[in-house]
Point group: C2
Chain length 158, copies 2
DNA sequence: TTTCTTGCAAACGATTTGCACTTTG
DNA sequence: CAAAGTGCAAATCGTTTGCAAGAAA
């Protein structure tokens, strides 16, 4: 019921704390962008985020969205990972990882805690972990089937 | 002693098998690029790989290196991951993951088998895993120290 | 007021693409 | 020879940057 609400407050709290700690400013643009990000649950690109902001009826330049996203990542609000066409983001905590087919390039998110548990147990010297991004590469069943009959197109497209 | 040799043969074998299976051709360029990749143990960029090829006294166009790298990834010879400035590669098997500082952008490779063990135990429906790429984001001790005194520069530079 | 931010537009740079020419199978 | 691959150069496109004007603190 209040799950979403809590996540929102958590992100907002992280932002406020981060801005205060690093002496950065609280701006309406950053709040709007954060709200827009919250409406995009799955992995989204900067452009999609900018569109979501626009859909809220707010005009924010693309450069500012890039700026905000950079800040959110540093603040531990967003995780960044990379698709074949540039960076993708998602709200933390994620508890998922991605499967990428080496043949057709399709990606799939998989819910799984086991890797985060390993990470939690792991200890790095001189490094404080905030989140991770795990991508598993392989071949999806559709492509495996095709590969048996005919030559496959290996060019990875999105 | 023969560890390197075996790795070479393994990669070559993967290439041959992949070319045959998908009906692609064996070209001197691809062999040269594979040899050059073998000389670059750590994560390398396409440009660095092209330079390594040139250093071997062979002239291969950048586009061909891009082409070959794509093919090597699909063949399971190279792992691809992303630094702040584009794609990086390394010869498989890797058994390592990467730490990235969210503040200064520096990356560090960490040798670790625990994640590969989890992956090996894990089973995906309709997907055959080949390799994974794990990146842990956080803050390095140097940046954590700096953050306590003054405002930190959050712009991630390489 | 003094910085930090924003917006805009130009600059960048890694990657991709189109096409004529070569090479492999 | 037919299909694939290569080289070259131009085109793309996500991202960055410089700078003047606008807001936080």
């Amino acid at each position: 019921m209040t799950g979403e609400k809590h996540k929102q407050d958590f992100a907002l709290q992280k932002l406020t704390e981060y801005l205060a700690r690093t002496g950065r400013r609280n701006t309406p643009e950053r709040l709007e962008i954060l709200e827009a990000a919250r409406s995009l649950v799955t992995g989204f690109s900067v452009e999609e985020l900018a569109n979501a902001v626009a859909a809220r009826g707010v005009r924010v330049s693309l450069a500012t969205v890039y700026n905000a996203v950079e800040l959110f990542v540093a603040a531990g609000i967003l995780a960044r990972y990379f698709g074949s066409r540039g960076a993708l983001f998602e709200i933390l905590p994620a508890n998922r990882h991605h499967l990428v087919c080496l043949s057709c390039g399709k990606t799939k998110a998989v819910k799984d805690q086991s890797f985060s548990e390993v990470l939690r147990a792991r200890h790095y010297s001189a490094f404080t972990a905030s989140y991770f991004e795990m991508t598993v590469y392989g071949v999806c069943s559709a492509c495996a089937r095709k590969a048996k009959k005919t030559n496959i197109n290996t060019r990875i497209k999105k």
